[in-house]
Amino acid sequence: MDIRSKALTKSIWVFHMSVGSCNNCDIEILDCFTPRHDIERFGIQLIGSVRHADALLITGAMNKKAIVRMKKVYEQTAKPCVVVACGICACSQHMFRDSYNVGEPLDKILPVDLYIPGCPPKPEAIISGILQLVNKMKKGK
């Protein structure tokens, strides 16, 4: 495990991005940072600039107009970074699969490290998913 990957597991800074979602996942992600769930106790923080991000938390059903922006944001992220598909829309496009304005699924566009299904996933599920990923990375897998 090189030093950059090791540093990634310490305190993950998250950039949240909605690519054609219905707001539910976005609200549940924000909910993780509020007093009841308080994900900041694990050192995980929501940040404003993608340049500082260790993880991209992507929600939504891959709107064609937003995919272009999403690719650019991914290019700007400092590597190595973790891509998390949050919500069933980002995992498999859900009921919007047949829509005319929805492009390819997320895992055909970016390398996805973690899928968190659910419509929307509960904050507990999001926290558990991210912690499982961190533990896996610590073991060097």
Binding site: N23, D26, K65
Partner: protein, 402 residues
């Protein structure tokens, strides 16, 4: 001579939950014009809805927006029941009360969420954390009644899908009681805190005349003194049998919008309490509707943001022939053009947030007007243009073959 500078905000910006693109035209500190470019969330729900069975559409339309995820299915079932002969004629008594309970619970959670975000925008992060803390018990109530924190899947044509258990009612009442001190705290904080008052008073003002001209709806209109509320004007659910009042303020600035929403929280809690008391103890909750006849119907619901409108055309098959949705934010967002223009740039984000915009609801396909040849370009587009020009020069210098 004016020096117009364009400040782009978005589509991905730390202040925004959803991707949308604002262009603020500023002269110095003053905002002189505003342009909103949407389309980053468009999922083609109206078209998808035409390929779904009447019973499947509520699950689709509640995913239009995660915050008003009971208003959209409610407006849809009202539209279908309008074809069948009206909500009051076919829906069982108990369902009407359950529908109102879900609708009002959602209003509480949405207003608390908005309150927290406005606190965040003006730099009171404590307000944000507290508002979201008090929002959690509301989500617990939802989980207790419907089984999910968001996306409740409660509405179906002719009734509701789940009953409220008698054992849960005392617990819900207790949780509502526990919610009140929190709302009192916000009420006191907004009314008494001099800084919040100075920050919000006379900012982003929308006069009564402007509110009518721009056809705003919901709390945005009521804060400007326009007396509209669909729950009273065109009663649905059990709202005509309960005792409540429409909250109206006069000034139309952000302070009034905040006050309207806080006072509506009290009304919503009172409405839920009355519903729980007056609800029949037993009875069916579903009218078991099988076929939808030929016809067209409309459904109007007072969502937390304003009037939510659904229009359905049925041709006698099991799918809607046309499904038109107009969400409240579509009307409210446009009023930023008068509310935000003339203010300073530091107030702009607050004014944009004050109408409680929901861009997921509002999303349309953006069609660029080709007639004036205007095109929005970012840095990459400009580089591309420059490279193209070099390529063209090369071609003309060396000839086509190179």
């Amino acid at each position: 001579m004016s020096h117009k500078i364009i400040v782009p905000i978005g589509p991905y910006h730390p202040l925004q939950e959803e991707p949308e693109f604002f262009q603020l035209y500023v002269e110095g500190e003053k905002v002189v014009d505003i342009d909103i470019i949407i389309g980053y969330n468009h999922r083609g729900i109206e078209k998808l809805s035409e390929s779904k069975h009447f019973d499947q559409v509520p699950f689709l339309v509640e995913r239009i927006c995660g915050i008003c995820s009971s208003s959209h299915p409610y407006a849809y079932v009202l539209a279908v029941e309008n074809i069948l002969g009206g909500e009051f004629n076919i829906v069982p008594e108990k369902s009407l009360f359950i529908r109102t309970i879900i609708d009002e619970l959602q209003r509480i959670h949405s207003h608390l969420l908005w309150l927290g975000l406005v606190g965040h925008f003006i730099g009171y992060n404590t307000v944000w954390m507290w508002a979201w803390k008090f929002r959690e018990p509301v989500l617990d109530m939802f989980e207790m009644v419907t089984g999910n924190r968001n996306n409740y899947a409660m509405f179906k044509v002719g009734g509701v899908r789940r009953d409220i258990k008698d054992d849960d009612i005392p617990q819900i009442k207790k949780m509502l009681d526990e919610l009140l001190p929190g709302i009192d705290l916000f009420h006191g904080a907004i009314m008494d805190d001099p800084i919040i008052k100075m920050r919000l008073k006379d900012v982003g003002r929308l006069t009564r005349q402007q509110a009518i001209e721009w056809a705003v709806v919901g709390p945005t209109a009521r804060a400007s003194g326009v007396n509209i509320d669909i729950r009273r004007d065109e009663p649905y659910g059990s709202s005509d049998r309960l005792d409540w009042k429409v909250i109206i303020e006069k000034d139309g600035d952000i302070f009034c919008k905040t006050v309207v929403r806080i006072l509506e929280l009290y009304e919503s809690i009172s409405l839920i309490r009355q519903c729980l008391d007056k609800m029949p103890k037993s009875g069916i909750i579903d009218a078991d509707i099988k076929d939808i006849p030929v016809g067209e119907g409309i459904g109007r619901v007072e969502a937390p943001r304003g009037e939510c409108f659904h229009y359905i055309v049925s041709d006698g098959t099991n799918r809607p022939l046309r499904h038109k949705i107009r969400s409240p934010s579509f009307m409210n967002v446009a009023s930023d053009k008068v509310a935000a223009v003339g203010g300073t740039i530091s107030d702009a984000t607050l004014t944009l947030a004050a109408v409680d915009p929901c861009y997921c609801c509002t999303e349309r396909v953006a069609v660029i007007n080709k007639s004036d040849n205007s095109k929005i370009m970012n840095g990459w587009d400009l580089i591309k243009l420059s490279q193209d020009k070099t390529l063209k020069l090369k071609e003309s210098y060396y000839g086509r073959s190179k």
